[in-house]
Symmetry: C2
Subunit: 395 residues, 2 copies
């Protein structure tokens, strides 16, 4: 099984330590699975302390043996009981913290209160923004992992073309996509950082289900088959001449690829064809314009303008209450990473960013069409990481 290379972990820790120092923090506690994996190479139940200077300490609650195999950190220590973490920190002479960081966007209140009680003298600072910015810039190793994920996406999106037929339910197609993903090595979850945000392996949204608005922070939501989940595929059956939107996610060694394609048995209406063509043109435009130094909000504006020129302003990235204010999002260990290609994201493109670009059109009662592909920002511009050449896929 592939573990994160030692030099990767060292580099990540070093960069984070510089940020800790710049922010006058003596260290930070890392607990959440995605962050823990990023900085240690393992998600075995642990508390990771990263001091601003010196070696990190991985305190493992369960399972020590695997944590030692998976993590290249030098200090991997078994936690024996509730009070043992304080003891370990005393042993490393880091118990007198006065300012330290926590992942306060995801850490549950009770754990936060626990830290406050254990270190009553300490001022706690939210380092989730710092971590998300760090994780935003991908190394070659990370890009390779995302490419493995996009290769599986391509396999699935190609294979499913031969499976879809009239009368099948969205859920059947979703099931096949799940089967292919797992068979090819999808790790089985698509992590999202956002509170209460959850994800199935795929969204399969046929016809009007593509225009059902949901709680999800996404242009398309879908009915699902219960209000308890309220997104994605349901028991609706596939018909001819309607868009079948498939949003597919796969994670390999933690890293996510994310792609959307529109399928159709027969033909799309002229309106949908034109909207789809507009999505394609936004991709082509942004692929020309996007390069290091260009602001995310500028890219968003360009996309919105093109949608408006084509008369689709009201349906771009959803309609009505369902309209979302972004056309792309970073991908990595989580599906909702930075950068966000949005007017509200104050950042410029930098080399090493990887994002999913998804200019989508949602037409009430008709459905969702568009293209989503993953791009790497290089010094020269965008490199596409997704492999599927077809745009509208005819069954």
């Amino acid at each position: 099984m592939e573990t994160t290379p030692r030099e990767e972990i060292n580099q990540r820790i070093n960069t984070f330590q510089k940020e800790l120092t710049a922010n006058d923090l003596e260290g930070a506690f890392i607990l959440q699975n995605a962050d823990l994996f990023y900085f240690s190479g393992t998600i075995q139940s642990s508390v990771l302390f990263i001091p601003a200077n010196g070696e990190p300490i991985l305190m493992v609650q369960k399972n020590l043996e695997r944590a030692q195999l998976e993590s290249s950190l030098n200090n991997v220590i078994q936690v024996k009981n509730k009070n043992h973490i304080a003891q370990i920190l005393r042993d490393f002479e880091v118990n007198q913290l006065s300012t330290a960081g926590l992942e306060m966007d995801v850490l549950p209140a009770n754990l936060y209160i626990g830290f406050r009680k254990k270190f009553p003298q300490c001022r706690w600072v939210d380092v989730s923004g710092v971590i998300r910015k760090l994780r935003m810039i991908k190394t070659d190793y990370e890009i390779e992992q995302i490419q493995k994920a996009t290769a599986i996406l391509h396999t699935g999106l190609t294979e499913i073309r031969h499976i879809i037929r009239e009368g099948m339910t969205e859920l059947e197609i979703d099931g096949y996509l799940a089967m292919i993903a797992r068979r090819e090595g999808h790790m089985g979850t698509l992590r999202m950082r956002g509170w209460n945000q959850e994800m199935t392996y795929a969204h399969v949204l046929a016809g009007d289900n593509g225009s059902v608005i949901s709680y999800l922070n996404s242009a398309h939501g879908g009915s699902g088959n219960t209000p308890a989940m309220a997104q994605g595929a349901g028991f609706r059956r596939i018909k001819t001449n309607e868009p079948i939107g498939i949003d597919y996610g796969v994670a390999v060694n933690g890293y996510i690829g994310d792609q959307f394609r529109t399928y159709v048995i027969g033909e799309l209406s002229d309106t949908l064809k034109k909207a789809h063509e507009c999505s394609r043109n936004i991709h082509l435009l942004l692929a020309r314009e996007a390069k290091p130094g260009v602001s995310c909000s500028h890219l968003y504006d360009l996309a919105v303008e093109m949608a408006a020129e084509n008369g689709y302003s009201d349906f771009f990235m959803g309609y009505g209450e369902g309209q979302v204010q972004f056309i792309g999002h970073g991908i990595g260990l989580e599906i909702d990473e930075y950068p966000i290609i949005s007017p509200r994201f104050y950042g410029i493109l930098e080399e090493g960013m990887v994002f999913a670009l998804e200019p989508m059109f949602v037409l009430p009662k008709e459905g969702v069409v568009g293209l989503e592909d993953d791009y790497l920002v290089t010094s020269k511009g965008l490199t596409r990481l997704t492999l599927t050449e077809q745009v509208v896929i005819h069954i």
Copy 2:
């Protein structure tokens, strides 16, 4: 699409309001998907305020229309901006809270801090324990939903028998189980309340992979195919004469069924056969002994004693560091509900509880065997909700 009946919601709210009053709380804010669904019938992005007296207020951030369709609550109100929640509460004259509840086991620190800032005079109390105890007792409606889930489990566990063959990878089998689950209506996630706990649709653990310890709070863990997920199926290929442990979860209308069966191509070793027989005997013993009033820790002790009598103490519910101290767990909207059949859970069986009983044996390098079935506690004792009669399933 099926929505939660109004009388269900009303009953849940009423019981919770009694608890709020008994705990001297003026109300509680509910935000987490499973709790939100339980008390409102929707997971559309919302903040639910339940006062100790009077009508709850569902404040919807996204999407109002679906929230109104899905929830039978009377006050379903659109939140327009960040400050609007305070305004809505003022309109309902509940802004001067002095003591109120939050789900502090799951609510992120930043949201908790946000509540403290918005209501500086308020003392906040963790109501997660109260909610979990309430949700522990299932109504007839909830039991019906769990039965729909166990029907799908039975379909999957029966169908997979004809699919498994020598040389397949665990991941292929896992993929088929995902496909069947979704086809039959699994909602696509298995919610867990525990911090950092995550779940794939199934665990498929063949031979020695069944004895790989993981971070997961479970007797069996499995390697997975990456340290980034570190549980469940991997690329290991199925061999003859080894146990193929399948732990399968499915959720219908939010409610989870959870079952484990051991498959084998050929024959299990005598040790594994005997361990499996012991798991079956623990089921039979507990089905005789368990009834309202019996303590969970007593049931745990009975199981441990029987495992010891058979010489399997060291391998019961894992081995070494992987050994867990429970033999069953409540199921409902989450897979880690109360009651926990554990020496550390101070509670007695009550009518309406539903739990998965999973006396498992994990033999180092050999694998995992056992039986997991779901039971309802009735006035007369246990009623099995899972449908599969076969114990060891020969391919």
